[in-house]
């Protein structure tokens, strides 16, 4: 966040919006409409993106698509190894996931460990027919055999760079920033 870091804006407000519009159509195309389709946003960035996708899909189909919120903290594989106890957010999935097509939404796909945790959590809630993954940014460096079904932008990055998605709801501005960590 500090100014003296080497930062570069790789996507602006319009770019993010166009990506989400395309992903909304792709989700509907792949699933042939929104029957049995539900969205689940991963806290925190994924939730705001999922809310935007919910609005876009609901506008296109003129019907409201269900949206759930998932906090994966309790399913993380580094929880007992890390020194920090991450602040827990609320998980809110007020509908059954049985036989649903669940589209998980997150901001950045990196190692894949968050998605692994999210899938474990979803399966504790029921037995979805299928789980798909939508992300705004895929920055590579996977450590698990996981891939996204819907990608806003592929952003090849090096490990010493950080990719940050700022959203109006969280940071007051819509942009994707890549910054070199010194």
């Amino acid at each position: 966040m500090s100014k003296n870091k080497n930062t570069k804006i790789v996507m602006d407000k319009d770019g993010i919006d166009r990506c989400l519009t395309r992903i909304a159509y792709e989700i509907l195309e792949k699933n042939k409409g929104m029957q049995n389709l539900v969205l689940v946003g991963i806290r925190t960035g994924g939730v705001y993106l999922a809310q935007r996708l919910q609005k876009k899909i609901s506008d296109i189909e003129r019907d409201k698509i269900p949206l759930g919120i998932l906090d994966v903290t309790l399913y993380r594989d580094d929880i007992s190894a890390s020194n920090k106890k991450p602040r827990l957010g609320e998980t809110k999935i007020n509908f059954s996931l049985d036989d649903k097509v669940v589209v998980l939404v997150d901001d950045v796909l990196f190692t894949g460990r968050t998605i692994r945790a999210a899938m474990d959590a979803l399966i504790d809630f029921g037995r979805p027919k299928m789980i798909q993954l939508a992300v705004l940014i895929d920055r590579g460096h996977r450590e698990l055999p996981i891939r996204a079904d819907f990608i806003g932008k592929n952003l090849p990055s090096s490990l010493w760079e950080a990719v940050r998605v700022d959203l109006v709801e969280k940071n007051g501005v819509d942009e994707v920033v890549i910054e070199e960590e010194s």
Binding site: D71, T73, L74, Y75, I79, S80, A81, S82, N83, K84, K85, P86, R87, L88, G89, E90, T91, K92, D120, A121, D124, F125, G126
Partner: protein, 308 residues
């Protein structure tokens, strides 16, 4: 903020920020108990020992369920079935348990300060599940959580705590906690059940229940500890209930939207009349039990979530 405490020994040692962090974390844990599969893998491989030297249904069950819903292994030891009956001291029991490498020891003991001794002896996290007439921090936390949910806040509320204040660790922890969080705490009970110098804790004390009930937002009734009647601190249960039982008529002195709490177990008709205890429009007694599991999950999570 980071939670730095090794042990939870009393509300007195917790800061306002720490209390808020525990309550917020607990709110997130509420949802897990409503799932079909009521279990998350967070504390897999951790061991929690519940060491209970005193009888308990709700606290012990609540700790056990909290541990199990986080995937920890929980082991219950009650004094009557342990080496305590063979004369082993608390300190030797603690060292023995420590050698088996648990992660958390939850202890209830009739002696005030027993958890503190344990905490200074062993490297594991200690949670006080009630020590003598000293503190019962997890009860106060679940009470604060219940109040916060029902009233939207704690600060500025008038909370009346009624009954045997002297012998009540629940009262003591709640007085510390609620005062810290900005509530206005008043007490009432017969003179023999009010500790000397209790006003030093910053609370107003009445000898008539009616005086404490006026305009209360929350009424917390304490259990009359029947086992103490032998000490002649009150003449008879009947006389006690005539003067200190919460009933339909004296509850009218409190605010219209008053909530009634009780740490349990209830002596029906002694400190609280059955129709009040069972009235869903004011009684939150079972809600307190429900919050207890979430609060204990939060504490186990915060104490074991790292710092290896």
């Amino acid at each position: 903020m980071k939670f730095e405490k090794k042990d939870i020994l009393g509300i007195k040692d917790l800061s306002i920020d720490e209390i808020n962090l525990i309550l917020e974390t607990a709110e997130s844990f509420l949802e897990i108990s409503t799932r079909k599969i009521k279990k998350v893998p967070t504390l897999r491989g951790k061991t929690i020992i519940n060491l209970f030297y005193e009888a308990s249904t709700r606290t012990r069950t609540s700790f056990e369920i909290a541990g199990k819903r986080l995937s920890a292994d929980t082991i219950n030891i009650s004094a009557s079935t342990s080496s305590v009956v063979k004369g082993e001291t608390l300190i030797d029991t603690a060292r023995t348990l420590e050698a088996m490498n648990p992660d958390v020891i939850v202890i209830r003991h009739s002696a005030s300060g027993a958890p503190h001794i344990l905490a200074s002896l062993v490297k594991q996290s200690i949670i006080n599940a009630g020590d003598g007439a000293h503190e019962h921090p997890t009860q106060a936390l679940l009470d604060m959580m219940t109040i916060k949910e029902r009233k939207g806040k704690i600060s500025g509320l008038k909370v009346a705590i009624i009954g045997d204040i002297e012998h009540s660790r629940v009262a003591r922890s709640n007085i510390y906690g609620l005062s810290k969080m900005g509530a206005h705490v008043v007490l009432a009970g017969p003179a023999t059940m009010l500790p000397r110098d209790i006003e030093q804790m910053g609370t107003k004390v009445f000898s008539r229940i009616e005086d404490a009930l006026v305009d209360a937002d929350v009424v917390m009734m304490l259990r009359i500890q029947l086992e103490r009647q032998k000490q002649n601190i009150f003449p008879s249960l009947r006389e006690y209930s005539q003067h200190y039982c919460l009933n339909r008529s004296n509850i009218k002195l409190a605010k219209k939207d008053v909530i009634v709490m009780h740490p349990g177990p209830i002596n029906r008709g002694v400190e609280i009349s059955p129709d009040i205890a069972d009235d869903p429009s004011c009684s939150v007694i079972l809600d307190q039990v429900n919050k207890g599991v979430a609060v204990r999950m939060a504490l186990l999570y915060l104490l074991t979530g790292g710092s290896e």
